[in-house]
Symmetry: C2
Subunit: 230 residues, 2 copies
């Protein structure tokens, strides 16, 4: 990995054509030949980049470029497509390279899936009843849990880590579809999450959907104390 702070201009040609006027930026060259051009803002998306696999060639500026002040030109070409990124460097402010070695990779902790699994075994947290099935299918996707409570009412449950409005909308769509099935009557919904945002709670309750706060640590502790990750 190499990082270069430099005054540069950039031209990209590929799916589209784009260019960056001369300014100070951070250039990042990865081992696979890919290059990122970052500014001091925006989010993680670079201003311009070349995806791997790519090859970078450094060439001398031609006469015109040299007269404009260009000291070095990077031509980064994609190995498979005809995408080309041309970076003209005017001044290099800093240039650092280091070998990073092996990357163990990002590990995602499947909290939502785990919450759902635990909740399937702890139906009493939702007021009791018996589990019909997890991932209960509907034409627009599966409902996390389908339960039948003590009074024979079907309960569609949406499980989220953080309960926000889109989760309520999702459950509402399921309830609307499932409501057309005469075999699933009567039917109600529960929105279960570790945290439920006030707007989401208001929307849910306005639609007759019950909100339940889940305590993950407690659920995990009760079920399998050895499951604790931290």
């Amino acid at each position: 990995m190499r990082t270069v702070y430099a005054t540069c201009s950039v031209e990209y040609s590929g799916r589209l054509d784009a260019h960056l006027e001369m300014a100070n930026r951070l250039l990042m060259v990865k081992a696979d030949g890919s290059v990122l051009v970052h500014s001091d803002g925006g989010s993680y998306k670079p201003l311009n980049w070349m995806s791997p696999p790519a090859t970078m060639k450094v060439r001398e500026p031609d006469i015109e470029e040299a007269e404009a002040g260009v000291t070095e030109v990077w031509e980064v070409a994609h190995k498979k497509t005809s995408d080309l990124l041309v970076i003209r460097l005017f001044e290099i402010i800093a240039d650092v390279a280091h070998d990073l070695g092996e990357e163990p990779g990002l590990v995602k902790d499947g909290v939502e899936a785990h919450l759902q699994a635990l909740l399937a075994e702890q139906v009493d947290r939702l007021g009791g009843g018996s589990l019909v099935r997890r991932e209960y299918p509907t034409p627009i996707g599966p409902v996390d849990l389908m339960i039948r409570d003590g009074e024979g009412t079907y309960v569609a449950v949406e499980v989220k880590r953080r309960g926000e409005i889109d989760g309520v909308e999702q459950l509402t769509r399921y309830l609307e579809l499932l409501g057309r099935d005469p075999l699933l009557q009567p039917l109600r919904g529960i929105f279960a999450a570790q945290i439920i945002k006030p707007q989401a709670r208001v929307l849910a309750e306005d639609r007759g959907i019950e909100c339940v706060i889940l305590d993950y640590d407690e659920m995990r502790g009760i079920d399998h104390p050895e499951d604790r990750l931290f």
Copy 2:
């Protein structure tokens, strides 16, 4: 902008929970407090990150962390949500910071909007007729172009750079809605793109939607020869 090569481990908690085991990585701290964690591979997406606006606090390691070899802990918190990124640094290999100054910004050419604008002026490429309007409104979003052909038939046009199945689906939804408006009868659809994938073409034609290939260079050349960048 600050870039740090360091041996570190990372924990993220927000929309999901994720962690990175100890390894050498590049840390990038932007002026708005956002932080990116890059490895020497992958594409432009960092392994882990914190979006702006964010605040970074550097704290001393606690006893347990210090015993594990941690020399410094970065706690990067989002200013609006409860997202938190914790980076534990074991060794700093390099640490460089520079002020990049103003960023003039990326200038794009060849996007869908430009194609649509050119096509609005070159309706003959779609078989002729007169432009009713660009961005013709429907309850589910605007149709790119609405044309009335020589025989008085309305033509809804969806313009894409790359014509794929989802574009055909989009146009189909528009046609279904517009088809209910008695004032717009008769009505047909055209799917126009620089490239149309075979499956998309089959689907479109099966639904009675005409496919038109657009030559962007030719369209640009005819309209404003001085627009050519190269």
